[in-house]
């Protein structure tokens, strides 16, 4: 196996990180967490405004109960994703597809409060009874979550949102007999750092690992 030791490396330690230009540091440090879950989060305010925001911090917590977490770093709590989730207790997660990743990226522009990102970027809200929050019409994998827990991390103004998955909608043809969803076939894409979007190409699925048995391809 080829080792990487011979390659020329760039090294940063705490002292160097502190001295970096802020935008440079943001792109660098955001690159380190690898390829990320990429979802559009749909929420609705009590005034009826539909909000749509792009997040790359979604993570799995558990399957039973079905739970996931995400981080939000709001400018302030208002008529935005965090404010709407805390107020209504419900939000949707909508996977991105290549066909609309530019529109999704555009939701991260700082629109004034009360302006709906759906209208501004050209994506379409759709509602599924009884969920108060809007789903994205153009998404092929859509999830609704109910807020279970909210905490502000003590290190900076980052909020941890833990949600219970209460609704899942996936293209039937991407659901394998064992429960695995082929999100690549569903067109879901990923991102890296702050601004880079990527499609994927499956290498393989591997069988559940057991001591002393080399990993086998599942398909």
């Amino acid at each position: 196996m080829q080792t990487e030791s011979s390659q020329k490396k760039s090294v940063f330690q705490t002292e160097q990180l502190i001295e970096l230009e802020p935008r440079y540091r943001a792109k660098l440090v955001n690159s380190l967490s690898g390829f990320k879950s990429l979802v559009l989060v749909g929420t609705r305010s009590s005034r009826g405004n539909n909000n749509l925001a792009l997040f790359s911090s979604l993570f799995h917590i558990s399957a039973n109960p079905a739970m996931c977490g995400m981080l939000i770093r709001p400018k302030k709590v208002g008529e935005n994703t965090l404010g709407n989730i805390l107020e209504s207790g419900v939000y949707t997660l909508n996977h991105l597809r290549e066909e609309f990743y530019r529109e999704a990226h555009q939701t991260s522009a700082r629109y004034p409060q009360g302006v709906s990102e759906f209208e501004e970027v050209g994506l379409h809200p759709t509602f599924i009874d009884p969920y108060f929050a809007p789903f994205v019409e153009e998404s092929s994998i859509r999830i609704a979550c109910e807020l279970l827990e909210h905490q502000e991390l003590k290190w900076n103004q980052t909020h941890l949102i833990i949600g219970k998955i209460v609704y899942i909608e996936i293209p039937e043809k991407t659901l394998n007999p064992d429960g695995y969803v082929d999100i690549e076939a569903a067109g879901s894409i990923t991102c890296s750092s702050l601004d880079s979007y990527h499609t994927t190409q499956r290498l393989a699925r591997l069988e559940y690992a057991k001591p002393g048995i080399p990993p086998h391809l599942l398909e």
Copy 2:
């Protein structure tokens, strides 16, 4: 833009999720969080045993201070990733490459305590002064973290680990002038659900989004 409404959908709500066969549900729910950060976490016990474990729950928290989080769901706290992090306060994050994803997957087998996954799967520990935890020789992007915060989530036996990034090593040729690291060029791969591994293909980097201006390609 093509909408997805016409496709046949599979739908699960809370009642159906509860009734699913556990392994089916695990694969299904783990699929929903999209493509994930994939890292080998290196730790070392006070007895000097080197532990290596595969995680797909790494997430970015902030760039200044440079911080990241991950979830761990241990069988129990012992001479394993969680136990070693709590004891030593230090761990490494090592990006996966296609050349050794099978070996990385194999670290998830349940080896007895005291057995080093490095030796069992054929990956090589390497040490960088002054960090106590082992890095993976075969990885091209390597990070050391110091434990900042540990909490057990109240919903299940899941532990949230928050770390300060104190050391970063990346191939020089993958570091762009603006701080962006081309992790695709570095060979980093991603995963979906519990057992599926994927390489990536960049669509584009997009410029910082501003209201009223369509998103432009950065490169």
